[in-house]
């Protein structure tokens, strides 16, 4: 394929505007750059983790317009004109989110590696269903894996957070 365009591969930069944790970012990305790498390496937000790298474990979960996505397999340009929330953006004015408080109080984490993804997925759940049943929590969260297998405490933490949020 004698296409002069191919020689330019590597040179294509896509200017995008996105909001990350409420802050507008204007950056240029190459088509192959993944959202996880942009957020971790260029914006310095290292809460989201690269783990399975195949959209199974949920450690790289970010919220895109409020919905959980696997940032390890999402091209960064797809975030253009959209809003990204990472775990770093969850606390407001130095106050932890009720989910963060509940995970601490209830021991909803062991090694902590899956926790940013767990909490962000749980936030998406509570945003659309503020008082989920245990069954609904399990159904929504079943794509987030805790290798320490601390699921019981995670579910308890989410129920506790839902209770806290109802009170306020």
């Amino acid at each position: 394929m004698a296409d002069p365009g191919l020689r330019r591969i590597g040179g294509q930069m896509i200017p995008i505007t996105l909001t990350v944790n409420g802050v507008i970012q204007e950056i240029e990305v190459e088509p192959h750059e993944l959202l996880l790498d942009v957020v971790r390496n260029r914006l310095g937000l290292t809460g989201a983790k690269r783990s399975c790298d195949v959209q199974v474990c949920g450690a790289c979960t970010l919220l895109l317009d409020g919905r959980p996505v696997s940032s390890c397999t999402l091209l960064a340009f797809e975030a253009r004109d959209r809003s990204v929330l990472t775990i770093e953006g969850l606390a407001e004015q130095g106050r932890l989110h009720p989910l963060q408080e509940a995970f601490i109080e209830r021991g909803g984490l062991q090694c902590g590696f899956c926790t940013p993804g767990m909490i962000l997925t749980a936030k998406a759940l509570l945003d659309e269903n503020p008082q989920p049943t245990e069954e609904e929590i399990i159904d929504f969260m079943n794509g987030n894996i805790c290798r320490c297998t601390g699921y019981k405490k995670i579910i308890e933490s989410i129920i506790a957070a839902a209770g806290k949020m109802k009170e306020t």
Partner: protein, 299 residues
């Protein structure tokens, strides 16, 4: 690691098709990327160009037209899982979509992408096979309809031409007095066995007017199991129930199961038999519920 590629963002089907024709095997249509990007990250395939087709308007609609549900190929699994129209008309499809992979995959993955990628371990193809589904494939100058039965050619291989895009999935409305069940089994990330059973009943005679059975995930492509379907047609429900073990055995053998990480051939054939029994009882149970009040007929 994802190698570099060039991105094209056409806004019309014709433009996308032209690009695919022009760049041939060095280019690939890209929608949700949930399957394609994994294969590219693993280095199993590489394309110098991805054609992002998500800027083409109008391909993510779900509507009822001329007695068929028309699903735009760019509809995400999440959208289908929450579609009121599908919930009313085809609840078994909604339930299947609610259980595709996980919430993050459903958020970005599309039905058209799922079918076009033809990953053997997938749910939708198997279910669509028992519904008389037709797929609309478009390219720059023409448009054709492909019966679901002819779409999958092999593992990761469809009958789409290199410059054709899957644009719509047409599912005819199912007749009253019919029952549809999709069951899957698996303990890995992807389903190991999927089975879809459609039964239409002759209400007065309590007999089975039409039976369609498909098995997926166990071999290279999902497939209809004509051999077992024939055993049910025209039979009373009780008589069909007495044949179910034999039908399951035949379905297992006919499913093209191959031994792999998900289990041996024998094991998969056995699971097919178990799932067929369960699906049959679900399907007949639903009919009874429907008879008591206006219950769910197709779910």
């Amino acid at each position: 690691m994802l190698r570099r590629f060039y991105l094209e963002e056409p806004e019309r089907v014709q433009e996308a098709s032209d690009l695919l024709a022009r760049y041939g095997e060095s280019a690939k249509a890209y929608a949700g990327g949930t399957e394609l990007l994994l294969a590219m990250k693993e280095g199993l395939v590489h394309y110098e160009r991805l054609i992002n087709i998500k800027k083409i308007p109008g391909l993510d609609q779900v509507k009822l037209e001329d007695g068929a549900i028309r699903i735009g190929a760019l509809s995400t699994h999440r959208k289908l899982a929450g579609s009121p129209l599908l919930q009313e008309r085809l609840p078994a499809l909604v339930r299947m979509e609610q259980n595709v992979a996980n919430i993050r995959v459903r958020e970005v993955g599309t039905l058209g992408g799922n079918l076009s990628f033809a990953e053997p371990h997938a749910d939708p193809g198997t279910l669509l096979l028992v519904l008389g589904t037709r797929l609309v494939a478009e390219k720059a100058s023409s448009k054709r309809e492909i019966p679901m039965e002819r779409f999958f050619v092999g593992a990761y291989e469809t009958c789409l031409e290199p410059d054709e895009l899957l644009t719509e999935i047409h599912v005819p409305l199912q007749p009253a007095g019919s029952s549809l069940v999709y069951l899957k089994f698996g303990y890995l990330e992807r389903p190991s066995v999927g089975l879809a059973l459609f039964l239409a009943f002759n209400e007065r005679e309590r007999s089975i007017a039409e039976a369609r059975l498909a098995v997926g995930c166990v071999g290279p492509t999902p497939r209809r199991i004509d051999e077992a379907e024939g055993m049910f047609r025209g039979k009373g429900v009780k008589e069909a129930a007495s044949l179910i073990s034999r039908a399951g055995e035949i379905a297992g053998h006919a499913s093209d199961a191959i031994g792999d990480l998900h289990g041996s051939q024998d094991y998969k054939e056995h699971i097919v038999q178990v799932l067929l029994k369960r699906a049959f009882h679900h399907a007949c149970g639903k009919l009874q519920e429907a008879g008591k009040g206006r219950g769910e007929l197709h779910g």
